[in-house]
Subunit: 328 residues, 2 copies
């Protein structure tokens, strides 16, 4: 099919692999190449028609790739790659360093406006789908409160923090919404709740031999920023158990708004995700927005965008007529 | 505030009243007038600056009203009013006769394109917010199934049907999702389910004196189209109980998509509403989309639209910069 959208991927970690899988579910898309900073030969992708190339070769594919999906991280990859690739391609990324979004938006916007490309930044589920729901729920119920809960799911940042504790051989940290807080919010009571009052932190830890578990536990639960403010549970397990039961990356969460209308009627809007694989789901969102970036660019809507600027119709491979008839 | 969006309302039933309340929660909007087919004097609106006028006077307000919110019904009001008012105003409506949406869209589109106005049709929660979630979930998880559940809530159509049964003095019908079906769907099992396998119908009935309750019950549960295919429960209550406990119009429901990514990971997306007042909530959605219609028209995006063509940013009174900084 020559009218398929031609897609490239930059970065081949969990998110990049998920993106390969997500594109395979879209008959209107074709994956052309994966670009990596590693030696291309060191990467094996089980897709006969997909090239694996060094990232420095990307510029040679300007005319062959319609949208580039940037699968790097927000800390160091995207601040450089976002504005760089927007000079050459329509792009999608999952930039999620919240405090720096305005700055990142502006730098990508400058590149994309210069090149006449369309870049949708901060795509995924939070920021992304959760953001859309926060905005829409607030616009519909101005008299109310938004609540975002994350989990139950693996937090990479907190897992890494536990792994840095002396005597820890391996660890996974789950963020778990506190059920009573969730129920209070769902009832429309609109309580005041800090992040720590909404979430438990549950750690599964493999201790090095000869280390005192009580000491490790103490070091974890008192760690500032990460755990000190939270109710934290530490479970010691064996290395086999860690591998067997905790090697997946599930996640999810919910955005709830409780609002009041008229003479005090309670109205609750909730959006929730329950994900077996966080990176594969995030990748699926990126791919749907890649379709949107391609179409927006065709219409001349250039520059940086967020999910807020993208109408739902651009995400679906179906025509507006079909959608009105079958799905509205 | 002279830069407020000036809004008019056509029709003053439950939805029109909810719209008056919803506009009051929006400092960027001003309600100018309510237009009715009844004698304007017969309607009392507790808003000193709001005119109540006969619908025939609407055309005199072409320059004073930015958006007209059509609060009539889909059976007879909107098929006429939609295309008529789109000749003079930006409009919002909640047209929900599903099978006729394409036809209605075309007729409103013709009017709006001729007049240079913007009309967003079929706004509310279903069609409306549920439609957006069906589209987005399907676009993100192509390999999956959508499920829409309605309730627990009052169905006006089914309540009316019960009231027409001989010997029934008063009645309310609640549509109730079947918990086991919901749980099966939430687990990602993607079962095949008919509407009847997803919902119970629960009726509260006041019998006329001298009528046989067993006969009334039989007449209800065997009624074709409305009840015969469903598990239906009939509860007889007193007139006082009906008034005391069943005079509100709660509703809600959920849209769930179960999909699979990668090598079979289950991913569940759910959107749900739990509403004390269906008409007040629907009105709140109409008002947020009235803001969007006004802005789209300012940008020259004329013609008929659905919620599918409206990017989230148009719904919020906040600027794109504020939204990126505070809510993304």
């Amino acid at each position: 099919m020559s009218n398929q959208i031609k897609v490239g991927i930059v970065g081949y970690g969990n998110l990049g692999r998920g993106t390969v899988d997500a594109i395979k579910q879209c008959p209107d898309m074709e994956l052309v190449a994966i670009f990596t900073r590693r030696t291309p030969d060191s990467i094996s992708v089980n897709e006969p028609n997909v090239k694996v190339l060094h990232i420095s070769q990307a510029e040679n594919y300007k005319d062959e790739i319609d949208v580039m999906i940037l699968c790097g991280g927000s800390a160091t990859d995207l601040p450089e790659q976002g504005p760089d690739f927007a000079k050459m391609f329509n792009t999608i990324d999952s930039y999620d360093t919240h405090a720096k979004i305005p700055e990142y938006f502006n730098s990508v916007d400058r590149s994309a406006k210069e090149s006449g490309k369309t870049s949708i930044i901060s795509v995924g589920w939070d920021p992304g789908l959760f953001s859309i729901n926060r905005l829409m729920a607030e616009a519909i119920l101005p008299n109310g409160e938004n609540y975002s809960f994350w989990g139950e799911g693996v937090s990479q940042g907190h897992s890494d923090a536990v792994r840095r504790v002396e005597g820890v051989k391996g660890a996974v940290q789950y963020t778990v919404p506190i059920e009573e807080a969730v129920e209070k919010v769902r009832s429309g009571a609109n309580p005041e709740l800090t992040t720590a009052e909404k979430h438990l932190r549950v750690c599964y830890v493999v201790a090095e031999e000869g280390y005192d578990q009580a000491k490790i536990e103490q070091d974890i639960v008192t760690m500032p920023n990460y755990f000190a403010d939270y109710e934290t549970k530490v479970n010691f397990i064996t290395e086999e158990e860690l591998k067997e039961n905790h090697s997946k990356l599930p996640h999810g969460g919910f955005v709830i708004r409780g609002g009041k209308t008229g003479s005090g009627n309670k109205q609750i809007i909730e959006f929730s995700l329950n994900l077996d694989s966080n990176p594969e789901f995030t990748a699926s969102v990126l791919v749907a927005y890649a379709r949107a970036a391609y179409r927006l660019n065709k219409e001349g809507q250039v520059g940086a965008k967020t999910v807020y600027e993208v109408a739902p119709v651009y995400l679906s491979p179906k025509s507006a007529e079909e959608l009105r008839r079958d799905l509205l």
